[in-house]
């Protein structure tokens, strides 16, 4: 991550444990630049929600510090919260009230005009259901109402903890488009947590991978693509694998015997024709040559599983 970027969220050596013996977060250094859509990834129990709770001052860190909009989060940071919209785990909804009443309560507490209520209901496509009791909402509708509550104050920073939980594929796509729109057109910085990379890889500009309370990767989505590409290989099978491996090594390819085939480290698209030409020139018959690309999901899983 570049140092000259303005950081909206920055944590330094953040640690936390529910008991003295075991930390659930260890030395977390989050760096989220302005207008980024930061995907906070990790399997269930990795520490994502705990981190988010610390960012929002709902938990006090054992060690380290949190800074949002350049100000240290401690005590009762009222000014900071006026610029933040948050959805943590399941949305906090009063089920005995209508969707509109739920929004009205937050609007009164945040001193927001009533006209904004219908705007946000429209944004999350619940305009026709605003008068219904929340207890009659589906899981997806509740999630969208939670998102509407987070958007009510037109925040500069959105912190969303698994916001697509319970949404159908259409709902996920709509949420993705909405968040992209907020980021691109309004410069809103978004922190979105998920345990599925596939769900957010088309959305995010930055990624942080957390597992067992440790930050395993943090960078741009392009950097993750590069790592992913580095794990791609070309599988080759020939009539003379020993000769083929020698030829390829002599020509500076990184090659080894795999379980079934020869495995050449993939560098770029021109490499395939080069490999074929070399082997053909030496009279080696190629039975098989295949590019095996590592997907982002596999890269993510390799981080988590290692």
């Amino acid at each position: 991550m570049q140092n000259n970027e303005e950081l909206i969220i920055e944590t330094s050596h953040l640690s936390f444990g529910f008991s003295k013996d075991k930390n659930v977060l260890n030395d977390i250094d989050l760096k989220i630049p302005k207008a980024a859509i930061y995907g906070f990834l990790g399997p269930n129990g990795a520490g994502k929600t705990t981190t988010i709770r610390i960012l929002l001052n709902l938990l006090k860190p054992g060690n380290g510090s949190v800074s949002i909009f350049g100000k240290t989060v401690s005590g009762n940071p009222v000014d900071l919260f006026s610029r933040i919209g948050a959805l943590i785990e399941t949305p906090s909804l009063y089920e005995h009230l209508t969707g509109l009443d739920n929004l009205l309560i937050t609007a009164k507490m945040r001193n927001i005009q009533k006209s904004r209520l219908l705007e946000v209901l429209n944004i999350v496509q619940l305009k026709s259901s605003g008068h219904l009791y929340v207890k009659d909402y589906s899981l997806g509708m509740k999630q969208r109402l939670g998102l509407a509550l987070a958007l009510l104050s037109s925040p500069d920073l959105l912190i969303l903890d698994e916001p697509t939980n319970g949404l159908d594929p259409n709902g996920i796509i709509e949420t993705r488009e909405l968040l992209l729109h907020l980021s691109k057109d309004h410069g809103v910085t978004i922190l979105i947590s998920s345990h599925l990379l596939s769900e957010i890889e088309k959305l995010v500009s930055h990624i942080g991978i957390l597992n067992q309370g440790k930050m395993l990767f943090q960078g741009t989505i392009e950097q993750l693509h590069e790592i992913s590409q580095e794990q791609s290989i070309i599988e080759i099978d020939t009539n003379q694998n020993s000769l083929a491996i020698q030829i390829l090594l002599d020509n500076n390819h990184i090659v080894k015997h795999g379980k079934e085939f020869l495995e050449v480290k993939y560098l770029d698209k021109y490499q395939l024709s080069d490999v074929i030409a070399l082997l053909a020139k030496a009279g080696v018959a190629i039975y098989r040559i295949q590019l095996i690309e590592s997907s982002l999901e596999q890269t993510f899983l390799s981080f988590v599983n290692n």
Partner: protein
């Protein structure tokens, strides 16, 4: 602060707490009304005796016995709205000082309790007037309502329950399970009632209201320390609850 209170009022819509305030206030006056109406011969006052004092004493004693349980339930139900919605985390990430949240909800609780007592006494007094109209032998119509007697009781009783309200409010935001928070409060009331005559029982906040049983104006007013003691107790619990809510409570 008014906007916060108005937001709190919206949360009460469609809740049992609101119905309980009205129905709980109606319960004892209705019971007294029907007893006086059907057993009226038992309640005919002696000559030159004001029936209101006897009737109001029953109302006051009923208030000491029954209203406390309703108050505990009302406090529990109001705080339970937040527990059920899992909304403390939402409230704590709003641009609001925690102290404001503490006092706005406390203001709602106190307002609902005052409404409960207001309705209770309005129903009780209306019931007395109606009894006087339906059964003139009860002589309610012959004597004026002893306003000062009522005012003194209401004042003393409200002072006596303030520490209990503050402690129960603290327990109710700390304990998510309504049955447990209510159980703690009822246990306090039971102790207060069982140990009513113990010299040191006034140190238990839940016991003070029972000192108002068989209320006599002079007896209470002679205890000058009563007001000071309750004021100090109230401020102490208010400060401790506030400290806990603003510094330690994480929802």
């Amino acid at each position: 602060m008014m906007k916060l209170l108005s937001a709190e009022l919206v949360k009460l819509k469609n809740t049992f707490a609101l119905w309980l305030t009205v129905l709980g206030a109606l319960f004892l006056p209705l019971l007294l009304f029907t007893t006086y109406l059907f057993e009226w011969k038992e309640f005919i006052p002696n000559a030159q005796v004001d029936p209101w004092y006897d009737y109001l004493l029953r109302t006051f004693n009923g208030c000491c016995f029954f209203s406390l349980g309703f108050i505990l339930l009302i406090i529990g139900l109001i705080l339970n709205i937040e527990h059920r919605a899992n909304s403390w985390k939402h409230l704590f990430t709003m641009p609001l000082a925690r102290g404001k949240l503490y006092f706005s909800k406390m203001a709602l609780v106190v307002s609902v309790i005052i409404l409960f007592f207001l309705l209770y006494f309005v129903f009780a007094i209306m019931s007395g007037h109606m009894l006087g109209f339906i059964q003139p032998a009860l002589e309610f119509s012959r004597y004026a309502l002893p306003n000062e007697y009522i005012f003194r009781f209401v004042l003393d009783f409200l002072v006596s329950i303030v520490p209990m309200i503050i402690v129960q409010y603290w327990i109710s935001f700390r304990v998510k399970n309504l049955v447990i928070s209510l159980g703690i409060g009822l246990f306090g009331l039971l102790m207060g009632l069982l140990l009513k005559n113990w010299d040191n029982i006034i140190y238990l906040p839940y016991a003070t209201p029972f000192q108002m049983l068989n209320y006599k104006v002079t007896a209470v007013l002679n205890r000058q320390g009563f007001y000071w003691f309750n004021a100090v107790y109230s401020l102490l619990f208010l400060a401790l609850g506030y400290q806990d809510f603003t510094k330690r409570f994480r929802g």
